[in-house]
Symmetry: C2
Subunit: 281 residues, 2 copies
């Protein structure tokens, strides 16, 4: 049977406890959709990982190595999830990073999530989380391994009808969902939260920002509060696995789906689910 | 040879990559001094771990189990460090915590750090870090595994003469060192930063708060800025391994050590280095 996990290229699911990924959350991750045996949005994921690694001072493995291992795990899977973790590797006890870090790469295949198919067309119900997001410009936008805030936020609800919870920073600005980015339709434009002090800059968020112009839609990054959301013409959420989820209910408020930019959404969804069989980066 | 690592009681240093400690930093840790074959401040460390576990919703192993394993690793070591990590254990992919978590406990013995002995009496040089601390009341005070901020702060200096770096929150309040708590002597009182939005409530910090009254010294938790530090009669740092370090230099400023509460410091140091051979908690 094909392995589902590779650590530094070796088929094993056991990691040294000395790894700084465990000790300090000293690393990054990517969550990729796999379709028809190949990862989707490979370039976007690799570039985000490489940019994050540069900001944290972690050497990033070359794209051809990660792509080869990703394809090895994706091979034969009609639909799956591929999670890539990159840590700063071993290091003595203590926060100080080693001067010559030898990073650890962990690739793991997971089953495709079983979200109801109706959520894509009919939209999802969304709640507001009480757990705030701490602000830190040094970490903002990065998909790093320090995710306790998301864990606490996600533990606030158990109702399976609720697909996602929105999180705010300490100043009441909406940043996004626990695992998704947020877009708001207003007067023909799209607005999305600024991510300069917290939040994760998602790959599909990046797709929306890139593809919108082709549909004549302006996208603006803004500070957004709760009133902006309830006053919006429509809302949708994005991430690499869900693609795009329209929001049909926000708290107790029913949201209209008619004013969402459906052509753009269709294009984003298609791009997010296209297996990437091309070059490395 | 005696093992240096126990995972759930088994002598191994390999952890399942599915563990949420790696995936999300979903866990807590304690760093204990070991002296003469036994852990120091056992009760304080266990109580902090148990309180943190309660706040995060992680079941905490019973004290007798952790103490037995701690003593197993400490046995025979004249001076060592014992690190205990408690994670939420395995869990499927995704932030949502399992409803019936089976936590993982990882105990590991490390060598005693080789700080210069002169630092205890003559004091240490301290710098200011630029990496800020994000504020989150849900996580404040906890010794959790999300420590990227400390890793980035500790990577700001390499000068071995500098023992520690002070960190501020986004509003400019000094919270403490990368691995220590801070006390400031002023007019016969001690002041220490409030830890209600970030920072770690250290065990030796707790000792200072408890023992000070016996020496007729009032300790106040306050919002403290940089000006408070430079205007102080003296400064010292605390943690479970260093005990107490007086600060002899803050940035470029020489600090006076004469007005520090030396009797209290001596008592705190003694308590922090006394092997705990008593009851469980």
């Amino acid at each position: 049977m094909a392995p589902d996990t590779l650590i530094d290229g070796v088929a094993t699911d056991r990691l040294a406890v000395a790894d700084r990924g465990l000790q300090y959350g000293d690393g990054l991750f990517e969550t990729l959709a796999v379709q028809d045996g190949a990862p989707c949005l490979w370039r976007e994921h690799y570039h985000r990982l490489a940019r994050g690694a540069e900001r944290l001072g972690i050497p990033c493995p070359p794209p051809e190595l990660l792509l080869r291992e990703s394809r090895q795990l994706a091979d034969g899977a009609s639909a799956a999830v591929l999670k890539i973790i990159l840590t700063r590797g071993h290091g003595g006890r203590g926060y100080r990073p080693p001067e010559d870090p030898r990073p650890t790469r962990i690739l793991r295949r997971h089953p495709w999530p079983d979200h109801p198919r109706t959520w894509e067309k009919q939209g999802v119900a969304v709640t507001f989380c009480r757990t705030p997001l701490g602000e830190n410009p040094r970490l903002a936008g990065l998909k790093h391994l320090n995710r306790l805030e998301q864990v606490l936020a996600r533990s606030e609800w158990r109702d399976r009808e609720i697909a996602e919870g929105l999180m705010q920073d300490g100043r009441g600005r909406i940043i996004g969902g626990t695992l998704s980015n947020l877009f708001l339709a207003r007067a023909g434009c799209l607005l999305t939260p600024r991510l300069d002090t917290c939040g994760i800059a998602g790959t599909v968020r990046g797709l929306v920002l890139r593809l919108a112009a082709g549909f004549g839609i302006q996208v603006l990054e803004r500070n957004l509060g709760r009133a902006d959301l309830t006053g919006a013409d429509g809302l949708f959420l994005t991430n690499a696995l869900i693609g795009v989820w329209p929001v049909r209910r926000l708290g107790t408020r029913e949201m209209n789906l008619d004013h969402l930019p459906w052509e753009l959404i269709t294009a984003v969804r298609r791009a997010a689910r296209t297996p990437d069989r091309g070059r490395n980066t």
